[in-house]
Symmetry: C2
Subunit: 204 residues, 2 copies
Amino acid sequence: MTVPLEPFGKPRGERADAARNRERLLEAARAMIAEQGTRHVTMDALAERAGLGKGTVFRRFGSRAGIFQALLDDDERRFQERVLSGPPPLGPGADPAQRLDAYGCARIPFLLEHHAIARAAVDRTLPVPAGAASMTQPHIRMLLGQAGLPPAHLDGLAVQLTAALEGPLLLYLSVEEVPEPPAPEAPHLLVEGWRFLIGRLLAG
Amino acid sequence: MTVPLEPFGKPRGERADAARNRERLLEAARAMIAEQGTRHVTMDALAERAGLGKGTVFRRFGSRAGIFQALLDDDERRFQERVLSGPPPLGPGADPAQRLDAYGCARIPFLLEHHAIARAAVDRTLPVPAGAASMTQPHIRMLLGQAGLPPAHLDGLAVQLTAALEGPLLLYLSVEEVPEPPAPEAPHLLVEGWRFLIGRLLAG
């Protein structure tokens, strides 16, 4: 099967339009969330706020959960950029122990700030995504290796430290009636716990 | 409102009957799982295997998921007894570092062995239980305290180590199509990772 070529300029024009609409919708969604939280962001309300047709919203996001997934993807990409090419100690240039410490210090507030959006992004007709999109596990594994931990332990520890870091904030995503953020996971407790754990792990 | 008293002996007799039926049903379910896995355990098949009426199965368990929840509860209770009053180092009597080590060494195989049952116990109309029934978090917190870790870190670390220990095995419970056990969580990797992590954490 051959795909007929579009006239020059047309696809590029359509893609640019699509990208502009997407940006405009995400901006509108962010503004609505900042004003009233996630609850009032519906397909209809978002279309109205962005001054676009409801059909456009459906084409871009597919469902209400899709709006929040797009917001998360966008912020996750920016977080990854800070880790991959931002200033140290979160970005490259610090030693691995400092980078692991900094990763937890940045990641826990990021997950807490995105808790309401992440909950709204859960499509209850689908299983909870098991943190697959995050760079956390390969990043931790890389830094543990650079820190000189025994190669035989890298895979197990990377899985377990990812769970230690993200699990307390992911486990509640699909629970309907939990207060936000969940009570026992006060951010400073988790940040300080992470720093202590990493400090001891890499001091040995 | 007053509850009318039953004649002596009747409630006790009914309760004993109920307990016997429950035992008989759980035994039949275990035998079916051992022979054919969880897939073939249905309300009808279980009633037939146990030689009891379908109504009895519904009264005891409520739903198919309820059968597996009852099996898990039963095994979880036995696991807790080993921890609370079994021989050391899992039970009392060993030092806290040894007990933490032993807890992970026992808990990871327990969770892996129960993975299929735990998946079948998930009622997809309800959120995944966030490991609430397990004694893991308070037990870890107690042992970390006994090991002399700073009191300010006990809550955070107990949450994070619980996630490190149980998270990798819980996160996949609600995923439909994952092979069992999930590939990256080979039991020896997780057991060795736990031992290394606890060793370093408590060596400081």
